[in-house]
């Protein structure tokens, strides 16, 4: 068994545990909403309930949307159907089915999943502390038998190890089982799905074209206002030097020195523009290499944690690069952070980028910080963009992109 396998397995189990815990969270909501719905239905018998029914249905949609958002973070995006359109809304019926499943089975799976690791710890560490508790409490977490001597205590420890193996084996399927009703019932049915998809693609295509035009404008600006101005300065200085040549060769040499400086600046700016379009290192080496040079150039101390073996489509990598470049520009300009971390992962066929900083937080898409540009670029690739930035920090920007290969 290689370490790679062990690490992979451990990560799968921890991921499953995280899913199940998250699922337990929405299941708690589901239980509450289900209870409220039942009360409302009961009240309908006396008439008052009809007034409360629209609110209750909106709550069903709200908790379903929460689950959709949660599932979309782990797998393919599930698009919500929008506001509730009365009792005849077909999506609503499917949501009610899901609500029943998730409030019962989902809740049970989540609760069990959380007790399993606790039981493992309890049993595995039993020989260390069994003598310290009253004999009536000295038994395995599963409560098979009371342990009265050392052999009993070690037997409990063995049970703990067995429970560990069971936990490792069952957690991933449990997570899948908990998510399954949501994936089946909360996804729009095929017709609605396609219509929504078309609407979404139309919107993201427009956004892609916008982003493209904005990018061209930026390049045009930096060429005109930077590089071209430098070159004009070179011609002006050379012109001046030529005129000075006859009058005073020393002055003309001085002017030529300045012309050379200007030419060198033009080259440096041209390099900058080229790099901002598509960094050569991205094409020649890899995305992590390109991100390394970005991280190194960032004035805030920056750590890069990249674990991707395979390449993605060029446009996807370029977008990931752009996202990190913009995010680091924001970190440097606005966050007052002392450290930032870039994490790059491949999760099945998605490329996940996360940029975290320990700054002041409070970032929003409205303040013209380039975050809306990031969102447009990401959505144009059918990717997902999320930003959490409470006042006081930390700021976490998460982007996932379909790899496109």
């Amino acid at each position: 068994m290689s370490t790679r396998y062990v690490v992979g397995r451990a990560r799968a189990v921890l991921d499953a545990l995280e899913h199940l815990a998250g699922g337990l969270g929405t299941a708690l909501f589901a239980v509450a909403v289900l209870a409220w719905l039942l009360v409302t239905v009961a009240l309908c018998l006396v008439g008052v309930g009809f007034l409360l029914l629209p609110t209750a249905l909106r709550m069903v949609r709200a908790v379903a949307d929460r689950e959709r958002a949660r599932l979309s973070r782990w797998g393919p995006e599930i698009i919500g159907p929008g506001p509730v359109r009365g009792l005849r809304d077909p999506a609503l019926r499917r949501e009610l089915g899901w609500l029943l499943c998730h409030a019962s089975l989902g809740f049970l799976l989540g609760a069990t999943a959380l007790t399993l690791p606790i039981d493992v710890l309890h049993d595995a560490s039993f020989p260390l502390w069994w003598q310290l508790v009253p004999p009536s409490a000295a038994m395995p977490a599963q409560g098979f038998f009371p342990a009265t001597d050392w052999s009993g205590a070690f037997l409990v420890c063995l049970i703990g190890l067995a429970a560990l193996v069971i936990t490792i084996v069952v957690l991933p399927p449990m997570a899948w089982l908990q998510a399954w009703p949501g994936i089946r019932l909360l996804s729009p049915d095929r017709g609605a799905d396609l219509a929504l998809r078309v609407a979404q693609l139309t919107a993201t295509r427009a956004a892609a074209l916008d982003a493209h035009a904005a990018e061209l404008r930026r390049i045009e600006r930096s060429l005109h206002d930077g590089t071209q101005n430098r070159l004009v300065a070179v011609t002006v200085l050379i012109g001046a030097a030529q005129r000075a040549l006859d009058r005073d060769p020393l002055v003309s040499k001085e002017i030529l020195d300045r012309a050379q400086d200007a030419a060198e600046q033009a080259l440096a700016e041209l390099r900058g523009v080229v790099r901002s379009i598509l960094p050569p290192v991205l094409a020649d080496r890899s995305l992590p290499d390109a991100l390394t040079s970005l991280a190194a150039a960032c004035p805030v101390t920056c750590r890069l944690d990249a674990d991707v073996a395979d390449r993605c489509a060029v446009s996807v990598e370029a977008t990931a690069y752009f996202v990190v470049a913009e995010a680091l520009t924001n970190v440097a300009r606005h966050s007052r952070a002392t450290a930032a971390t870039i994490s790059l992962r491949r999760q099945e066929n998605r490329l996940c980028v996360e940029v975290t900083d320990d700054g002041a937080g409070g970032a929003s898409e409205q303040d013209g910080s380039g975050l809306s540009g990031i969102r447009r670029r990401v959505e144009a690739h059918d990717g997902a963009f999320a930003l959490t930035s409470p006042v006081g920090g930390p700021t976490v920007l998460t982007v996932s992109l379909p790899c496109g290969l």
Partner: protein, 217 residues
């Protein structure tokens, strides 16, 4: 000649000032944005302003807006507009409403110092200067009446549109003043324009003609 320079790129601004000072011209102020430019014009009352089109904050046409305002405040102020790129649509807009003492050039023309100094003197003296690039843009569209012109007449028309006077055109084409005069009369006749010898009124007439032609398409 007292000159104010408005250019946001510091290297270019200083380079331009250096060049003009070395030529014995009096650069009274160099500024980097439109409000400072207007203040400098008010303070120094210069003969000529050299203005970059794109300046902060929006980097679009601040320079033009400021130049128009400066000419409103100080009538007779000659303005030479410099730009990283030139557009005929922009030029015709500027000149058909503008009057005399106006120039519109690509920035890199500054490097040809001799010609640039000529342009400065011409514009400061109430004349006109239009970038050859603009003229070329105006003359690319095919037109029956333009096709009636001979090749040499088209050369003369282009130089006329740039704002050059008869003797400058003659020098550029290496012909006599009399020959240029003859060409111009012939051009005006073929284009149905009222003949005039004043260079800037001629530019306006030619521009109107070319503009009407491009505008009609």
């Amino acid at each position: 000649m007292r000159i104010v320079i408005a250019e946001d790129d510091s290297l270019l601004r200083e380079g331009l000032a250096l060049l003009l000072k070395a030529e014995g011209l009096d650069v009274v102020a160099t500024v980097a944005n439109a409000p400072d430019f207007l203040a400098a014009v008010d303070e120094h009352g210069p003969d000529l302003a050299i203005v970059d089109v794109r300046m902060p904050p929006t980097n679009t046409d601040e320079g033009i807006v400021a130049a128009v305002e400066a000419r409103r405040r100080q009538s007779g102020l000659a303005v030479l507009v410099l730009s990283a790129y030139v557009e005929q649509a922009f030029a015709t807009e500027l000149f058909t409403t503008g009057g005399s003492g106006l120039g519109y050039l690509l920035k890199e023309r500054v490097g040809r110092v001799e010609e640039f100094l000529d342009v400065l003197r011409r514009v400061a003296g109430g004349g006109t200067a239009i970038d050859p690039e603009v003229v070329a843009q105006l003359m690319v569209r095919p037109d029956n009446r333009l096709e009636r012109l001979s090749a040499r007449e088209r050369d003369v028309l282009a130089l006329m549109a740039e704002g050059l006077g008869n003797s400058a055109i003659a020098a550029r084409l290496v012909v006599t003043d009399g020959a240029v005069h003859k060409h111009i009369r012939s051009i005006f006749a073929k284009l149905d324009l009222a003949p005039t010898d004043s260079a800037d009124r001629r530019v306006t007439a030619v521009l109107r003609y070319l503009k009407a032609r491009t505008g009609a398409r």
